[in-house]
Amino acid sequence: MAAWYKQATSRRRIFNLQLLALMPVGIAALFNTGYQYLRVLAENPALESGDIRGRIARGLGASYQHPGIVDMLAAGLAHLLPILVLALITGGVWERIIANRRQRPMESGFILIALLFTLLLPGAVAFSHVVFGMSFAILVGKAIFGGEGKTFLSPALLGIAIVQVSFPGSAGQHPLWQGLTGYGGSEAFALFHRGGEAALNAADINLWSAFIGNTPGPMGTTSVLAVLLGALLLLVTRIISWRLLVAQIFGLAVFVTLFNMSGAESGVGAMTIHWHLLLGSFLFGAVFLACDPVASCCTNPGRWIQGFVIAALVVLIRVANSTHPDAVIPALLLASIMAPLIDHAVIAINIRRRSRRHV
């Protein structure tokens, strides 16, 4: 029976649910990262890296000859875990320092930020970049605004964006990454950019493998299936706004169709809607970054508008800018900065309409 005892969903409960929603993505990330690593090694064993990730993978016994589930899991753990731990330590240290200086209890939100940030990175990211991005996320993304709930951008989004713009092409020293596109997003997307569907077929990427996430890319964003599971949980528990999510996907369909109809013969302009959804990190960003309740519009009309803005920007950057084949991170950043402006306009219209009816 209604609200009196159905009190505020506590911060802790929301936090736990958000972590839970990221679990399918995390598991998919483990297997896919391991799989991609071992696949590259199987083709070219000389690429085996000597850094700590490669050594852990070897130490855990991940074999690239006929790799099984256990091998993939071991290789995935060897890549994801060091990055995650490093991000957690970086975030935790900053949080501790800030909590001490402000004489306030430490906030736990950095755990979620670290997890999101890690899942948006490629398995081959340089450790120094992890520390840099995570520091930026906590300090500039969160602390200077006063902490959790007072930010206007998703801190993880800001962290990943700063890594992308600071080191645009430098993640190529590792077999997992092979110098395709730097941090700027999805290799699968870059493949399409260069050779269309034929290039995807040549790289063994089909609809099914893209759906379950068996494609190269940032660790957590490749599996559409896992993202959908997380989205389902967040929608059922009403942590994210369904309007914003639907607006993004519907907007993507509209703008992709427009570009398809405009007669592009090749390249991303001719890419159909299902590939837009399956490749790259659009859905991951749409669910876990764009729908951050604090950093998105707070009025319902504003949410619809913001969703369409995100979709328009994603499609536009994807089509027009081949150096940013995935486009999701810059699009989300721009849309997130615009959110207060959109709200302002929506509220102004509402006020004007009210004042006309006033007695």
Binding site: A8, E148, G149, P293, V294, T299, N300, V346, R357, H358
Partner: protein, 396 residues
């Protein structure tokens, strides 16, 4: 005629008029403890607007007059003794504005009108932009208005026509869909139906939809259906209506049902032998818009239609972060047409101007009660709203 609508009657031995039900009134007492009073006898009036009078809801003797800080009236308690009799009021001979108003003021019925903005008793000479009769109740476990109105339909319609006569403004009867209150009488009468959610019965929602209030000085008046019936009783029979229909419900109540009680009944007497054992929380109102009864609020409020008693959840502390996290839940609990998050933010920072633009003048504390519960910031938006309203009232 207690029990005439077939409900169980619960007679308590003590009732009270509570000062907090009449905001902004500076009470001037016209009686003393120990006085014998008839039902309908004038007990108090507003010192600043002496035409506004407050009458004894039931006959008996004045038991005590409780005062708080700065001698503010907390409650005027009466030990019920029906044998003391009833004051008769001569119904007005004409349906003219002035004679109707005079009758309402003299008989105490005027004090059951409320204004928006601010939720005060209207000034005796004021002109509203609209008068709203709240003839529906959408909250969980509230008594059904329709059988009550049907049982007293003569009184109800007489009073509605009289209310239409006290001003030139339209009179809206807000009812549930399918509740066929037959239109008739004055051409100023409009019948409007509201549905959708628990908030459908809130005057704030009706006013928002029918006559949004700006800063031009306009105001809307509203009155609950039971107070309308009470006015009708005065008009038709010349004597006050000695009962109100109140429901008791909630998961700590053994036998949830509607009761016929005296206005202002002592809650503890009503709930005697009604509750399960264990820690409880008594709410004035429903689980959605109800307010936990504070210490010393032991009597039914004016216009209150339900008491909810819930098992208290011990040990589950509220997460109070001080931070407003927007979400669909806030939007759904806000009165329709009002943007919850911008309004709550304006209230948090005390931005009276923005809050007014976003519709704060149409609201009072009860409208924001569910938002205070749903928001994890732990803010009591009712208190913040009142602070903003006080600021706006002083500017008006």
């Amino acid at each position: 005629m207690p029990g005439s609508i077939g409900l169980e009657t619960s007679k308590v031995s003590r009732i009270a008029l509570s000062g907090r039900d009449f905001r902004g009134v500076n009470f001037e007492l016209l009686c003393q403890p120990g006085d014998e009073v008839q039902a309908g006898a004038v007990l108090m009036r507003d010192a600043r607007r002496p035409a506004i009078q407050f009458v004894a809801p039931v006959a008996g003797s004045i038991a005590s007059i409780e005062r708080g800080a700065r001698r503010k009236l907390i409650s005027l308690q009466i030990d019920v003794d029906e044998s003391a009799g009833v004051v008769r009021y001569q119904p007005p001979e004409t349906q003219e504005r002035d004679s109707l108003r005079e009758f309402m003021l003299a008989s105490g019925a005027w004090s059951s009108l409320r204004t928006r903005p601010f939720g005060n008793i209207p000034h005796p000479d004021a002109e509203p932009a609209a008068i709203l009769v709240t003839a529906l109740d959408a909250e969980p476990l509230a008594p059904e208005p329709q059988p009550v109105i049907e049982a007293f339909s003569e009184e109800f319609h007489a009073a509605v026509n009289a209310l239409a006569g006290i001003s030139a403004a339209p009179l809206y009867v807000c009812q549930a869909p399918g509740q066929a209150l037959t239109p008739g009488g004055s051409s100023k009468l409009r019948y409007v139906s509201f549905s959708k959610g628990y908030s459908a019965g809130l005057p704030g929602v009706h006013i928002n939809a029918l006559c949004p209030i700006g800063f031009g000085g306009g105001e809307a008046w509203h009155i609950g259906y039971q107070e309308v019936i009470a006015l009708g009783h005065l008009l038709l029979h010349g004597s006050p209506w000695l009962q109100r229909i109140v429901s008791i419900g909630g998961n700590a109540v053994k036998n949830p049902r509607s009761l016929c009680v005296y206005p202002g009944s002592a809650v503890s007497e009503l709930l005697a032998d009604e509750l399960h054992d264990g820690p409880i929380a008594i709410l004035s109102g429903s689980t959605v818009y109800g307010r936990k009864l504070a210490e010393g609020e032991a009597f039914l409020a004016a216009g209150q239609r339900q008491i909810t008693v819930q098992r208290d959840v011990v040990g589950e502390a509220r997460a109070e972060t001080g931070v407003l996290v927007p979400g669909d839940a806030l939007e759904e609990l806000a009165p329709p047409g009002i943007y919850a998050v911008p309004l709550l933010r304006a209230l948090q920072v005390g931005d009276a101007e923005r809050a007014r633009e976003l519709g704060a003048l149409e609201l009072v504390e009860e409208d924001l009660a569910p938002l205070s519960l749903a928001c994890q910031s732990g803010c009591d938006y009712g208190v913040l709203l009142r602070a903003v309203l006080d600021q706006l009232e002083s500017l008006r």
